[in-house]
């Protein structure tokens, strides 16, 4: 095994275990792992983004599309924020970015997120399998009552109609619960992804050795700390 191959296994294994030590407590190993990850990610992103700028703006602006250079100037204007006298300049690219983004989003959102989502609630309640009818009913009641929760008029806060928004609140709570559950599952699956990597046959030996060394360091550090305490 060459030194490069050795390091290609040892470094990712070590840094994965370093970052996981946060579950024990905040310690220098965790900080080394976390800061190296942030630093290397930022460096990598810079290289990829500069290459994208070269391909999509720099090269075209010198090969028959001079208007593309405007995008580079607008990008540079964003940095004017850091100079007191020229601070106002950054507002122009920001206005373009926000204006274009919002304009594009609204254009597509009306159909995709409003009208089609409303029409998706017109579901059959008489034909189909009993379970489908039940699900359709649940979707319709859930949508209507959840929406009524956000109607703040007197009509929906009285004794009788107020019950509708209370049912809507239950549906909303169920939705938030599903969201919370999916966040937890997501976090667990992220950890599983790293554990899968650590237990790969080629990595397992390194994982065991590094874990033992890291645990020895953490326990030893705690022991010395306690010993120093009066």
């Amino acid at each position: 095994m060459s030194v490069v191959e050795f390091l290609t296994i040892l470094l990712p294994v070590s840094f994965t275990i370093f970052v996981m030590t946060l579950a024990y407590d905040d310690n220098p190993l965790y900080e080394i792992g976390a800061y190296l990850l942030i630093g290397s990610s930022a460096g990598w992103s810079a290289v990829v983004i500069i290459d994208f700028l070269r391909k999509s703006a720099w090269t075209p602006s010198f090969t028959g599309k001079p208007l593309y250079f405007l995008s580079i100037l607008l990008g540079l204007a964003l940095f004017a924020r850091y100079f007191k006298n020229y601070r106002w300049l950054y507002r122009y690219p920001m206005a373009i970015v926000i204006g274009t983004g919002v304009g594009l989003a609204i254009n597509g959102a009306i159909g995709a997120q409003i009208t089609k989502q409303i029409s998706a609630n017109f579901l059959p309640l008489v034909s189909g399998a009993p379970m489908t009818i039940f699900n359709n009913l649940l979707i319709i009641i859930g949508s209507m009552t959840s929406l009524s929760y956000f109607l703040f008029t007197d009509r929906f806060s009285n004794k009788y109609l107020g019950g509708i928004s209370k049912i809507g609140r239950l549906f909303l709570m169920a939705t938030f619960g599903a969201g919370f559950g999916s966040v937890m599952t997501f976090r667990i699956e992220t950890i599983i992804g790293r554990i899968d990597y650590l237990v790969l046959p080629a990595n397992l030996y390194y994982s065991i050795v590094v874990t033992i060394l890291v645990l020895a360091y953490l326990i030893g550090r705690d022991y010395l700390r306690r010993k120093k305490q009066p």
């Binding site: 024990y24 983004i49 994208f52 274009t100 969201g179 937890m184 667990i188 699956e189 992804g193 899968d196």
Partner: protein, 291 residues
């Protein structure tokens, strides 16, 4: 003399390290002793796979990858099996990514795909597939790609002119694609494709995503705007089960199931204690003395 703590108080004051240790043990058990739990196929994953397998030969499919190194274990299986299947069906695949850290992941998955192609099957860059690599993560990028593919970037990820690649001869706008496979990772940017591609041109859209995005995307599957989806490790395991290809997802479902069960039990215990303390019998205070 220190006051003796009740069991409830002890559980409430439990050191988080013990909870982490319990969780870690529940994660590791299936690695040591697999439980052999069944993997049921959900309707959305079935719909996703049916859509992929019914793409006729020669179809042009856009595949976007927005997973990062932390979320790729959740989407890798679904993603690479989908690409493999598309190549097996003689589809033409156009790759791009909205994440700057995704290009190496794409290259890694392409190696897996090439290694798993059926005997005698070959794929050629520029003929069967094209990769433009990273493009800026913005809705405007998708709008621009849909309006004019070659106008967005003139070169592919390897510096070739897009116009020089045979596959790109008939691909000019978003309307030239028959399907969009959107790997969202955990970004929640599937709206770009939904609003700019699906809504404007009617191009069918299927989504691969981390579990965290599932509740949001399900609204659009239910409404028919998204044709199907494979979500998280579970979705990957289902795709592995349906397709018969072996990946990493199937073996990761058991640690996921067991740790989710552990967390559910911990949540139930902690909430039961909270409720019993809140609504249970409170000590009566009379004249400054606790009775």
């Amino acid at each position: 003399m220190a006051e003796k703590k009740s069991l409830i108080d002890k559980i409430q004051d439990l050191d988080p390290k013990i909870i982490y240790a319990i969780l870690l043990v529940s994660l590791l058990i299936p690695y040591v002793r697999p439980l052999g739990l069944p993997i049921p196929i959900s309707p959305e994953t079935r719909a996703y796979w049916d859509y992929i397998t019914h793409m006729p030969p020669g179809s042009v499919v856009a595949v976007q990858l927005a997973s990062d190194p932390s979320t790729i274990p959740q989407t890798r299986s679904s993603h690479q099996i989908t690409i493999l299947r598309l190549f097996e069906q003689d589809c033409k695949v156009f790759f791009f990514t909205l994440r700057d850290d995704a290009p190496p992941l794409h290259e890694e998955m392409m190696k897996w795909v090439e290694a798993h192609l059926s005997a005698g099957k070959t794929i050629t860059y520029g003929v069967n597939y094209v990769n433009i690599g990273y493009v800026a993560d913005a809705e405007a990028t998708i709008a621009s790609l849909v309006a004019d593919v070659k106008g967005l970037v003139e070169q592919d990820a390897y510096g070739n002119s897009l116009s020089s690649l045979p596959m790109m001869a008939d691909i000019n706008t978003g309307a030239d694609f028959d399907l969009v496979v959107w790997n969202d990772g955990s970004r929640g940017i599937y709206m770009y494709a939904l609003r700019q591609w699906r809504e404007k041109l009617g191009t069918p859209l299927v989504i691969i995503a981390a579990t965290i995005n599932k509740p949001g995307i399900m609204n659009y599957i239910q409404s028919g705007q998204v044709a199907g989806g494979a979500f998280g490790v579970d979705g990957g395991a289902q795709i592995e089960t349906i397709s018969g290809y072996l990946g990493d997802a199937k073996k990761a479902t058991e640690p996921g199931s067991l740790s989710a069960l552990t967390l559910t039990i911990l949540l139930l215990v902690s909430n039961t204690i909270y409720i019993s303390k809140r609504f249970g019998k409170q000590p009566e205070i009379k004249g400054g003395e606790v009775k």
